[in-house]
Symmetry: C2
Subunit: 216 residues, 2 copies
Amino acid sequence: MKRCIIFGGGPLSDCDKIQLDLQAQDDTIACDAGYLTARHFGIVPRLVVGDFDSYKGAIENGAQVYTAPVRKDDTDTMLAVKLALKAGCKEFLLIGMLGGRLDHTLANLQTLGYLCEHGARGEIRANRNRCWAVQNGALRLKRLEGWHLSVFALDGCCRGVSLRGVSYPLEGATLTSSFPLGVSNEFAAETAEIAVEDGTLLVIASQEGGEGSCQS
Amino acid sequence: MKRCIIFGGGPLSDCDKIQLDLQAQDDTIACDAGYLTARHFGIVPRLVVGDFDSYKGAIENGAQVYTAPVRKDDTDTMLAVKLALKAGCKEFLLIGMLGGRLDHTLANLQTLGYLCEHGARGEIRANRNRCWAVQNGALRLKRLEGWHLSVFALDGCCRGVSLRGVSYPLEGATLTSSFPLGVSNEFAAETAEIAVEDGTLLVIASQEGGEGSCQS
């Protein structure tokens, strides 16, 4: 399955310690100032997209540039996702997507739902947070020692939600977007399984640490 | 309309500069380490709720304490909201709700939807972000100079979405949770009006600044 790594312009302090596990056949796209995120990882992306309202510096030879109008419906991340889907990518790793403006963070989380609806899957990876969406199916996650695991209804209502291999299991529950029932679960086995029969779940693994990580 | 201010344990650096406009008749509830947030603002809250996994220090005389079990369905914020709704509060100001663990942030945003469904309204206020939810109705916001204004479908699908007094107006549009169409609008008049005929919109005003605020 062809993978695309998309680099956003979120703060480097939020994603500088992650493992990319870059493979030769991976596609790489940077969104505007996400070019600097790619460069942090030593990567010259295949493509740099955006309206370039945030990055105005030089771009290495070897990277193509796609300049979008400032007045556009798509966020730069969504633009990159659409181009990569067209190029046949089905698996996405999204870096530099959290920790900046909250509206950008939300938009990037919703992009995970968009990927599900287009037959693809994605992960947002940051130093202390990893996020996935799963639609009418199941997601299996290897234990992340000491991390919390939370699930949210991304699309209003999720029916038949089951959580297995966790400290607070659920079977066939209903989650809605206005009742955060699935917060702060914990891995209780080598693999946690998150399944939903009808709907799209947002799954977030979060690590304690840093300032103010103790809200509930 | 009786107002409740709820203090969460998100990082103080994210909310220390806000204006509370505390009034004598306001109810005040702190959630666990949110007690320290309240104290930062010089407030001894009426009530401190939580499982006290994050705050183990002393609590001033005058504050009641409600200790919840660690194994509970509600987040501490949701617990506070339910108690305040029971006490007749219809307006909520939520402080210390952003900038910590991403799962907590998401849960707190969803709590805004819960308030709508229970005939109340709320605002999450932080230094650089302000968040509201509006369900089958309209929200009017005074111009925030230099802030971006974004709207998201909080509950799957929002029909009849209209944005007025903004740079990129909409009339009767449909927004879904998997397509972030409404990101990075701008105030273009003294008042912006955000209306939705059917569904729950999450509205986020975000200010540029800080590290990595330039994603799209």
